[in-house]
Symmetry: C2
Subunit: 221 residues, 2 copies
Amino acid sequence: MRPLQDPAPDLPPETERDAATKAAVLAAAERLFAMRGLRCVSVRDITAEAGVNLASVNYHFGSKDALVFEIFRRRTAELSRDRARMLHEAISRHDGKPPVREILAALMEPPLRWSNPANVRRIAMQFIIRARSEGSDAVREIIRTDVSHLRPFAEALMTALPHLPPEEVYWRLHFTLGMIHNNRFAEFDRLHALSDGITRDSDVDALLKRMLDFAEAGFLH
Amino acid sequence: MRPLQDPAPDLPPETERDAATKAAVLAAAERLFAMRGLRCVSVRDITAEAGVNLASVNYHFGSKDALVFEIFRRRTAELSRDRARMLHEAISRHDGKPPVREILAALMEPPLRWSNPANVRRIAMQFIIRARSEGSDAVREIIRTDVSHLRPFAEALMTALPHLPPEEVYWRLHFTLGMIHNNRFAEFDRLHALSDGITRDSDVDALLKRMLDFAEAGFLH
DNA sequence: TCACTTTCCAAACGATCGTTCGAATGCCCG
DNA sequence: CGGGCATTCGAACGATCGTTTGGAAAGTGA
């Protein structure tokens, strides 16, 4: 028996008494999904990796899709909390009217920091990116319809840019989200191949600055 | 028997003698893949839709993955040709040194026009977007390594922005590609949900102008 | 201790998938 | 007409998948 091999980064056990199996499944599933993709990981792979019985996934989560959805729900909620906290701090710092750059930073910095190789959230971030494009109908429905976490950002941007029609703010926010969501391994690999490697030695802070410069200019032009 | 492997590497289907079955499979597969996703379409779905025998896919293409790769190869080559033509026209118009905006337009306009509901290439564009994120290892390898079609754009941008370090040009090109690749149905749906629908009545030309404004500002800031 | 619930387990089920095979069919050319 | 291919066809193979099942084991409370 090997209940867990890694300190189970987090994924809070919440109110459950004995959730060792559940936590092991969650951790193993997230890691395998992030590395190989949702469809290329079977329930057998997950349970073998977690050292639990094959039926555990269906017993604890109902189905494989429900497991994916559960991880996705937890991680996106966590990411949204990080972003909301940064936005709130920016709002507090600037008496309710933060500048565009700080609003965009609250949107960009959490996912970028999560993606950092030294960050324990790296796997979680990679999973979110995978699930966004490979997820089930339920996941895609959440992405399509749940925009509540973006509302405060849209409102803050409209407050910071009162002269700009709301329609423009929404479109530019859409473009910015496109920039953020493009930070996948394959895309970075392509960028490095295109630039003959000169883009490779760029750390998170430098990337964040570049993204902020680019998006801020797009908003303020 | 396996009589052929790849008889016409780069020739359009019109040059082959009897390619009715092959063409029917290609068309049906592209349409189904674009609508439902690569993994959610079986070889049986494709052959049933095309009105051909189940074994046709393996006989004419070798495997399902090879079929996906073939469609992807054809369509991306076509898209790259469209982009290269626009870039070449811009270069001709400006004596070898086109402005940033026209370079970006050559990159953005073809995929945006293809995505237009009135365009016959709409399905093809949707397929490309699907294959980019759901494709096999071969497809992903092509995306990661084949950057030849982007080189002329990077060079044109460096010529137009001689004061900017090449590293910056590459990064900003990466951001711009992220904006372009983000134009999926689900992302638009989310944008419209966030904006309460006020972004919905935006045609291709208006979207192109907005994207160009945003990216141009990001490059010129 | 005992009854009861929760969790775990090995095994199998049913379905779907990509692929292969051998025979039948169509087709071109001598 | 008839041999030589290329193609099509129905049928099946082998593998993998998510899920289910019935009973064993562990935990719980009195």
